[in-house]
């Protein structure tokens, strides 16, 4: 949005640019470091890494951590379910949050305030593990795929983020459409939603990442169903296995080149990060490239 013709650069402007560049470089260095460090550890022999002192480059290179992770039983099933829940879960969550946000952002909607309050409260209350478990069980959600996508479908946080964005859209658009006889459904689908792409992308990202990373629900509700396991749950189990076995009284001889919890965790982290890094640029264009709201200008 700032693609303006280069005018003469004022002193203050120059100072700002220099400051900003330095700030960004520092920021990138600090935030990139832990990731690179994790990458280096994931490519280093586990036992060797115990000695510490690995920073940006592996000392004793090995693929072993990755092969250990990738040989995990049920990993394919887990990956399939995780992809499925991410796609379906994100889609359902986006649609339902958007609808709810649309409803409560209508200025003339008579229960806007009450419905908002109703949802805001849900952010701060929690019945606890066991009551929730009992509820899901009585709804028949245990041992089912639905437990991944139905319970978290609407979240007040995401809804409020969308609502705030929708409220920023000028009323004039909606009013003119209403004059043309458009109903709420048309306004939502044809006028508001196209303008909400950046916030939809944001919320989609939040939900997708949440879905991608979650494993507790798989453990709690679908423990007995191997074909409903998720990628992260399998990785958690693997990690727990490795942790357990590195302190078990197995023969400790000739164990050079073995994996450790730290090295496996690093490899698992990189493996789960990769797909998100790959998908991110497709979403990123919605909130970085300065999308102009073409039709908004009156």
């Amino acid at each position: 949005m700032n693609k303006k013709k280069r005018k003469k650069i004022s002193g203050a402007d120059l100072a700002f640019r220099i400051f900003n560049t330095i700030f960004m470089i520092a920021f990138v260095v600090i935030t990139l470091y832990p990731v690179l460090n994790t990458l280096a550890i994931s490519l280093n022999d586990g036992t060797d890494a115990l000695r510490g002192g690995i920073y940006l480059w592996p000392r004793v290179f090995t693929w072993k951590n990755y092969t250990t992770v990738l040989q995990k039983d049920n990993l394919i099933t887990g990956a399939f379910i995780t992809v499925a829940r991410t796609i379906i879960g994100t889609f359902l969550a986006l649609v339902s949050n958007a609808i709810l946000a649309f409803i409560v952002s209508r200025k003339d909607f008579i229960f806007a305030k009450q419905v908002s309050l109703f949802w805001v409260i849900t952010m701060y209350v929690n019945g606890g593990l066991i009551p929730t478990f009992l509820l899901y069980k009585s709804l028949g959600l245990t041992n089912s795929f639905a437990v991944y996508v139905i319970p978290g479908m609407i979240s007040a946080f995401n809804m409020l983020v969308i609502r705030t964005y929708m409220k920023g859209i000028p009323d004039s658009l909606e009013e003119s459409a209403q004059l043309d006889g458009a109903g709420y459904t048309t306004i939502f689908l044809k006028i508001i939603s196209p303008l909400c792409k950046p916030v939809y992308a944001t919320v989609a990202l939040f939900v997708a990442v949440g879905q991608w990373n979650s494993w507790f629900d798989a453990m709690l509700y679908n423990r007995m169903s191997d074909d409903l396991t998720t990628l992260q749950y399998e990785l958690m189990k693997l990690l727990s296995s490795v942790t357990n076995q590195s302190s078990s009284a197995e023969s400790m001889k000739n164990s050079n080149g073995s994996v450790t919890p730290t090295s496996v965790r690093a490899a698992a982290t990189i493996i789960t990060m990769l797909p998100i890094i790959c998908i991110y640029p497709f979403l990123q264009k919605y909130f970085v490239t300065g999308l102009t709201l073409g039709g908004v200008k009156e």
Binding site: P34, I103, P131, Y184, R265, G290
Partner: protein
């Protein structure tokens, strides 16, 4: 607008909205409000064996026990302090980062910086705290720098002193979440009408002026909403990071409500304590957001409800 009487025509007109709102509210009741029946646990000597329906009622015993325990009061203080510090710092940094990022002229650079900035979000706390421990250890980079610039004579043992604990936690939060938190603001910035920037430029506004008069007001509603939501979360200052960074020497400042609940409740099979603490947190959160919401309303700002 609440005071207006509801007319039939209005209802008819809003039929679609009402139906959908009703459906969604039913969903909310089932998935968010029904499990709250579990709150009775706080007033029971709950045993999984007897369940919610048949456990013995003990009234406010658990609440009394919580609030008569000096440790619990200290734990509330720690949680609040870390909650507020984290909120202030992460909030400020995310907005600052989003705005500065938006000012980068080079599109490629902007994308790269942003992509990198959110990556630490995907690292688990155990990895982040491990690296932080390394960096702050006696031979770590921070002490090396301090020694090289002659700022200290002896390496500082950062984890042995209570005064460093809260700042370290705050820094770790900033480190891990700034890029991720900034995404919302970046999305909000895209909604700002470019013509406003052009108008400001014509008025001779420089960068600072544009940020102050166009960007900030443009994302103000988003800021307000997130601020309100996060204020309700100050008692959720976390658990993992304090648990991983804490040690016996700093336990007075490192324990949070969640750690306390784990120690005295969950790991002892005492469900009531955990539930009672949860209710306490919920009540505080809701009171806080209701107050803040009212303040926001008085000032004509965006609000939650």
């Amino acid at each position: 607008m609440n005071k207006k009487s509801i007319s039939l025509t209005q209802l008819k007109h809003q039929k679609v909205l009402l139906i959908w709102a009703a459906v969604i509210v039913v969903y909310g009741v089932v998935f968010y409000y029904l499990p709250l029946a579990g709150w009775v646990m706080a007033f029971q000597d709950y045993k999984p064996v007897t369940g919610l329906l048949h456990s013995k009622f003990i009234g406010f015993d658990k609440f009394i026990r919580l609030f008569s325990d000096v440790t619990f009061l200290r734990v509330i203080r720690n949680t609040l302090a870390m909650g507020v510090i984290n909120l202030a710092v992460t909030f400020f940094m995310a907005i600052l980062f989003a705005i500065l990022l938006n000012e980068i002229a080079c599109q490629g650079g902007k994308k790269v910086v942003q992509t990198i900035s959110y990556l630490p979000h995907f690292l688990s706390w155990i990895i982040v705290t491990g690296i932080l421990h390394d960096a702050l250890s006696g031979t770590g980079i921070i002490n090396q720098l301090l020694l090289n610039f002659n700022l200290v004579e002896q390496p500082i043992n950062f984890f042995a002193h209570e005064k460093y604990f809260w700042p370290i936690v705050a820094f770790a939060n900033v480190w891990k979440e700034t890029g991720w938190n900034a995404i919302i603001y970046l999305a909000a910035i895209t909604a700002i009408d470019p013509s406003l920037y052009e108008a400001a430029a014509i008025d001779g506004a420089g960068r600072w002026a544009k940020i102050k008069h166009v960007t900030l007001p443009g994302i103000k509603p988003t800021i307000m909403i997130l601020l309100l939501m996060n204020i309700g979360n100050v008692l959720n200052a976390g658990f993992e990071i304090q648990y991983l960074l804490g040690n016996g020497l700093v336990v007075n400042v490192s324990q949070t409500i969640d750690i306390y609940v784990l120690k005295w409740g969950i790991s002892q099979g005492d469900y009531a304590i955990g539930t009672a603490a949860g209710i306490f947190k919920s009540v505080v959160s809701i009171v806080l957001i209701v107050i803040c919401n009212r303040i926001a309303k008085r000032h004509g700002e965006e609000r939650l409800f």
